[in-house]
């Protein structure tokens, strides 16, 4: 019965070729989960570069986890030495160029190593995950993970994870042609629990600086009835939140709808038109972030996200207003 043998051979072939892919995917997702936790829970100190277009920024970072609370200090190393100190409840920004210190309440960030397992079946419909190999990065052995989108409505990632600690060492945001649109890379990193709390203290003397504080939370969390809706979303994007904010850069309360597929996110901002502050229509971009603005029922509708142009346009075009 040769046909049975044939079938058997086919089955064996199929299994032997598909197994490594499945294994790689499972391993990639496990590593991602560990990375997710590592970035928040580890104590580390280092310098990273951020390359976008033909620009490069260099930043110093200290990150310390004390009793499951994140503390962090960032310092720009090139140009004006801006410094940011962030803890769970407070955000301090030292701006020597304006001789000012701005203090704000930091918005609550949920501290949770995300339940990636629960979302993987969804995520796997829109991205493929794989372990693409090993490479030395920032002086450490690392695993390379590829996250490839399956349609043109999201970017992909190439991630280099430290094999020992699973800390993210390098991250490329890539377009559908596998070209890096943005890159972040640690050029030096120390992962060490003994990083002293003093390292989180600001180094810039703020003597004579103006201190600015914002006392109350800026956004309302009350649910409200909205007349705006988004009718067409690329597959996989779900509504994450719907709210109104007062933004420091806009006078009116701005309506905000957020959508995410679990990896990529897009926001829709709706703001009443104000002739004194005209806004340009159409596309704009900053690094890998794309934005698209339209005008509808006397409102500016702007879609912003670290997603391809196609995605912001499609979403913006589907916004509607109920009279």
């Amino acid at each position: 019965m040769p046909s049975i043998y044939k079938t058997l051979v086919c089955c064996v072939l199929f299994i032997s070729t598909s197994l490594p892919v499945v294994a790689s995917e499972k391993q990639a997702l496990e590593l991602l989960q560990k990375m997710s936790a590592a970035i928040k829970q580890l104590n580390y100190e280092g310098v990273f570069v951020f390359i976008h277009g033909n620009q490069m920024e260099t930043m110093y970072i200290v990150h310390k986890n004390v009793d499951n609370e994140e503390h962090e200090r960032l310092l720009s190393l090139v140009g004006t030495p801006r410094e940011i100190i962030r803890s769970n409840d407070r955000l301090i920004c030292i701006l020597p160029d304006s001789q000012s210190v701005v203090v704000d309440k930091s918005r609550p960030k949920k501290y949770l190593p995300v339940g990636l397992q629960r979302v993987t079946s969804e995520l796997k419909r829109y991205y493929s995950f794989s372990v693409a190999g090993q490479e030395r990065m920032t002086g450490r052995e690392s695993d390379i993970i590829y996250i490839k989108p399956k349609d043109p409505y999201r970017y992909g990632y190439r991630l280099w994870l430290d094999q020992q600690t699973h800390m993210l060492l390098k991250s490329d945001l890539v377009n559908e042609k596998d070209e890096a649109v943005e890159q972040i890379m640690f050029t030096q990193i120390t992962i060490d629990d003994s990083i002293q709390p003093e390292r989180l203290q600001p180094t810039i003397s703020t003597k004579g600086y103006t201190w600015m504080k914002q006392d109350k939370a800026l956004e309302s969390t009350e649910p409200h009835i909205s007349r705006w809706s988004v009718n067409k979303l690329p597959a996989g994007y779900m509504q994450g939140m719907h709210n109104k904010h007062n933004l420091p850069t806009s006078r009116m309360p701005v309506e905000h709808l957020m959508f995410t597929d679990g990896i990529s996110s897009v926001s829709v901002y709706i703001e009443e038109m104000n002739d004194k502050k005209p806004m340009m229509k159409g596309f704009s971009s900053i690094g890998a972030v794309n934005a698209y603005t339209t005008i509808m029922s006397n409102h500016y509708v702007t879609v912003v996200g670290e997603v391809p142009k196609t995605a912001v346009k499609v979403i913006a075009d589907s916004v509607s207003f109920r009279d």
Partner: protein
């Protein structure tokens, strides 16, 4: 690719190629994608070393990429009613929670620093002096617009957006770096005021 060609690219940036070699190299560059990417790397290194902005095809890299994406034919969309309830598992995957609010503060700072920037009149696109030319938006560091009001508002959106969506990588850091890089590009404008 041979080292020789890489040397030539390097030599080109140091203005050490003669006209004939130059022409030959350009011809090869046009045909070879790998070479183009090397060329962009050299360009980047060169720029970083010289600490100056450049006028190169590399400048339009991101723009070109976006353009490409935009040109893709429309792809069928799922009709997804957005009225679906917010889903709790759709928390952003990971992310160093370096804040967008950080960047928000940076923006507040920028507004304070540069009074000419905040409610300034938009720069008429056709009335640019050579000096203004030199601070034209560079892909990646600023919104590719010439309209301060719009840029400011987009910054506000971006900052707010990232506050709710630290993505899969070090996106928080990126957004900060993005905004932080903003005024260093603006700097020449200030000098000229």
């Amino acid at each position: 690719m041979s080292d020789k060609i890489n040397e030539q690219i390097s030599a080109m940036f140091d203005d050490e190629l003669n006209a004939e070699e130059y022409e030959l190299l350009i011809r090869r560059l046009k045909q070879d994608e790998q070479l183009q990417s090397n060329w962009q790397r050299y360009q980047l290194i060169s720029d970083v070393l010289k600490k100056e902005k450049i006028t190169s095809p590399g400048q339009n890299f991101v723009g070109a990429v976006s353009q490409q994406i935009n040109n893709e034919s429309a792809i069928e969309l799922a009709d997804t009613p957005s009225q679906s309830k917010p889903i709790s598992w759709l928390k952003p995957l990971t992310g160093v929670a370096i804040a967008a609010s950080v960047a928000a503060m940076a923006i507040v700072g920028i507004q304070n620093i540069n009074p000419g920037y905040a409610p300034a009149d938009p720069v008429p696109a056709l009335a640019q002096s050579p000096v203004q030319q030199s601070i034209q938006p560079v892909a990646g560091t600023r919104w590719d617009l010439q309209q301060p009001e719009t840029e400011m508002r987009l910054n506000g959106y971006l900052v707010n957006h990232s506050e709710y969506t630290s993505g899969i990588s070090l996106q928080g850091m990126v957004n900060y770096a993005r905004i932080a890089g903003y005024d260093s590009v603006r700097q020449p404008a200030e000098d000229n005021q």
